[in-house]
């Protein structure tokens, strides 16, 4: 995507965001630390990818930003204004600025509305325009997302998954928001349809210039689409860098493992690669491991250091490449978990993943 323009004031500034969910006593009690201290800034026209496994808290971050959820702690600033605890009434004007597209285009559209009414709803709600002007805005937006005139009177069930996601994008962008939160917008779609939606998102962002937080588990898509990437693990950011930096020189062992787990669609390259297969599953966010949250699965963890002390997200070389790992050195050098010596280490059969170490 096009390079972001430099701007004095970021569109979005998130500081120390936390979101906890209480588990009812009937289900064992406790507290889910879904998001546990996340800092994130998005500049004008910037497309930032937020990646991580299921359960890492990435969707919760998105929902807090659009205030579908109220944060437990921390600040969310939109164009400088703190929205983290604003009451619904005062959030209204801000809802023009931030919109969200959801993963499932089947359940996020009202089945009883024609698609032109779906797209007109935000215009009506915000009292932007009426009558012919409103109709023109809607038609122009639907054309822009590739839905020609004869489709405008259709109902969501008459559309394919890809067409529905186009409607979702039209609805989100019709008010020309400055920030779009896209939560896995293509993962429910077929491969060939994914390609067309990704291309469309690319065009819309270039033409309309909005900033975007692209939440996804598919690293290849994020790499294709985003200027900057933040990697999340168990409620925390573990690494953040520009696309080139992150994919060429990943520092955090988790980022390295994640990248090595994505199979390349090229048999020759794929079979030459040294891969590291992480043991076990992501631990429960009810009881996150002490110290570095990744130490239970980290192939290079150094005990007791990594178990005792919680690493901070540090910009080692002051070049915008941040990582939260004790083993990253002051010059930004980091252990390579995919190095042949480590990567050929297989998970021992029946090994307890909690204490697995290469």
């Amino acid at each position: 995507m096009s390079s972001p323009q430099s701007s004095s004031e970021p569109v979005l500034e998130v500081r120390g965001l936390r979101k906890y969910f209480e588990v009812p006593r009937s289900r064992g009690g406790g507290r889910v630390h879904a998001v546990d201290g996340v800092d994130l800034t998005i500049g004008t026209g910037e497309v930032v990818g937020l990646v991580g496994e299921s359960g890492s808290g990435k969707s919760t971050v998105g929902k807090c930003i659009v205030r579908l959820l109220e944060p437990s702690d921390g600040e969310i600033r939109l164009h400088g204004q703190d929205v983290s605890h604003l009451p619904e009434r005062r959030l209204r004007p801000l809802r023009r600025q931030v919109h969200m597209v959801f993963q499932d285009p089947y359940s996020s559209l009202n089945p009883r509305m024609q698609i032109r009414d779906v797209v007109a709803e935000p215009i009506r709600m915000h009292g932007i325009a009426r009558g012919r002007t409103a109709r023109q805005l809607v038609e122009e937006m639907l054309e822009r997302v590739g839905l020609p005139g004869e489709m405008h009177s259709r109902y969501p069930h008459e559309l394919s998954g890809g067409q529905r996601q186009r409607v979702g994008l039209a609805r989100s962008l019709v008010l020309r928001p400055s920030l779009l939160i896209a939560d896995e917008p293509v993962s429910a779609l077929d491969v060939s349809v994914q390609a067309s939606i990704i291309n469309l998102l690319l065009d819309l962002q270039r033409d309309l210039g909005f900033s975007c937080l692209f939440i996804a588990h598919d690293l290849a898509t994020v790499e294709f689409l985003c200027n900057r990437v933040a990697v999340m693990y168990l409620g925390r950011l573990v690494e953040q860098a520009t696309r080139e930096e992150l994919f060429k020189h990943p520092r955090h062992p988790y980022t390295q493992s994640l990248l090595s787990a994505v199979p390349l669609p090229d048999p020759t390259l794929q079979r030459q690669r040294h891969r590291v297969v992480l043991a076990g599953d992501i631990p429960s966010p009810v009881n996150p491991p002490p110290g570095c949250r990744f130490h239970t699965r980290c192939p290079v963890a150094e005990l007791p250091l990594c178990q005792d002390s919680d690493p901070q997200l540090v910009d080692h070389r002051r070049d915008g490449h941040l990582s939260a790992c004790h083993l990253v050195r002051g010059d930004g050098g980091a252990p390579d978990v995919t190095a042949p010596r480590l990567a050929t280490t297989k998970i021992e059969r029946g090994a307890d993943p909690v204490h697995h170490k290469a």
């Binding site: 394919s160 390609a195 067309s196 787990a261 199979p263 090229d266 048999p267």
Partner: protein, 343 residues
């Protein structure tokens, strides 16, 4: 334990001219239209294509798991023995023992009210005539085989107590409990995270090494194909569009549909080299066939389509040793591929 009696040169599984038709209120739907493939001992064959191209239906038809509205023709031979015409009773003896299947969503295929140990044991008691005690001991071994930590205690857990990756391992353990000759895996890693996908693919690689299981892997993820498969069958609208070794098909794709699929996914290696700034779109959708095609089924979406494509449905033709494509204008067409990426 089932004895493997493959004669050299004889394929484990041989599917010949498989056709599946559904009779619905709105007329017939031709879901699978003359699919043929062979699967050697210890071989991994990938079936790829978009949703609705007939990949899953091919697997279901192979196992005799079609709904009553479906009509199937064609031959399915397991180690030379025809199983296509068998009745449900005989099929039940084969399923799980000679051929077994794993599905995309393990939660819906496991019974929520029984422990995983009970469910694996059931397979063993039924097919292998084991006692409860023997079955339990073997179930622990199997959970260990699919690398479930602390297998001896987790055997008493219920499916809901396990993560998605763990449940998929339980499914694999059940599927290989009787050491089947053929394992049909329908999108086994699609619902899982990449880190868990890597674990499952490793387990499948080991099974093939250790047990010599032949695998038919149904997937839409070309990365998974490149990682684990030996040969690939690209399906479109119930037809085989292209088939060959994975190396040949990826290095030198001949059918425009294969080219389209390969160009539609972001390629990490190309993106960083700035060699891919746009994805290839395949306009339109997979058609629902109601009559045998009189023209190439892919022609309406094909950038190369011309009059000759409308004359008839092309047959699979050899384009290189070990590689066949059903296309009138086969070829890699570098220029066209570049153009599609740049526009």
């Amino acid at each position: 334990m089932t004895q493997t009696m493959t004669q050299p040169g004889q394929p484990r599984l041989e599917v010949q001219d498989l056709r599946v038709r559904f009779d619905t209120d709105e007329g017939s739907v031709l879901a699978v239209n003359g699919v043929s493939f062979t699967l050697g001992a210890g071989e991994v064959l990938a079936l790829v294509g978009e949703s609705g191209c007939g990949k899953s239906m091919t697997a279901m038809a192979t196992l005799g798991l079609l709904p009553p509205t479906a009509t199937r023709t064609g031959s399915i031979r397991l180690e030379g023995e025809e199983i296509g015409g068998l009745g449900q009773r005989e099929l039940r003896r084969i399923r799980g023992r000679e051929i077994s299947m794993i599905f995309q969503e393990p939660m819906t295929s496991l019974n929520p009210v029984f422990t995983v140990g009970h469910q694996i044991g059931e397979v063993l008691r039924r097919h292998e005539g084991m006692t409860r005690k023997q079955a339990r001991a073997r179930a622990v071994e199997l959970l260990d085989l699919v690398r479930i930590p602390a297998a001896a205690t987790r055997i008493d857990e219920y499916p809901h107590q396990m993560s998605g990756g763990m449940r998929q391992r339980v499914m694999i353990a059940m599927a290989v409990a009787c050491n089947p000759k053929v394992l049909l895996a329908d999108e086994p890693t699609t619902a899982l995270d990449v880190t868990i996908q890597a674990q499952i693919l490793d387990i499948m690689r080991d099974l093939r090494q250790e047990l010599g299981t032949s695998v038919v892997m149904i997937t839409h993820d070309l990365g998974v194909v490149a990682d684990i498969a030996d040969r690939v069958v690209v399906m479109y609208a119930g037809h085989v569009a292209e088939t060959g070794t994975v190396d040949a098909v990826f290095a030198n794709p001949q059918h425009p549909y294969t080219l389209g699929l390969l160009g539609s996914v972001p390629r990490p290696d190309l993106v960083l080299a700035d060699a891919q700034d746009r994805l290839t779109e395949i306009p339109g959708v997979v058609p629902t066939l109601r009559q045998p095609p009189t023209a190439c089924v892919f022609a309406p979406r094909c950038p190369r389509a011309d009059q000759t494509c409308l004359a008839r449905m092309p047959e699979l033709t050899e384009t290189a040793p070990g590689q066949r494509a059903a296309c009138v204008h086969p070829g890699p067409a570098e220029a066209e591929q570049k153009e599609a990426m740049r526009v």
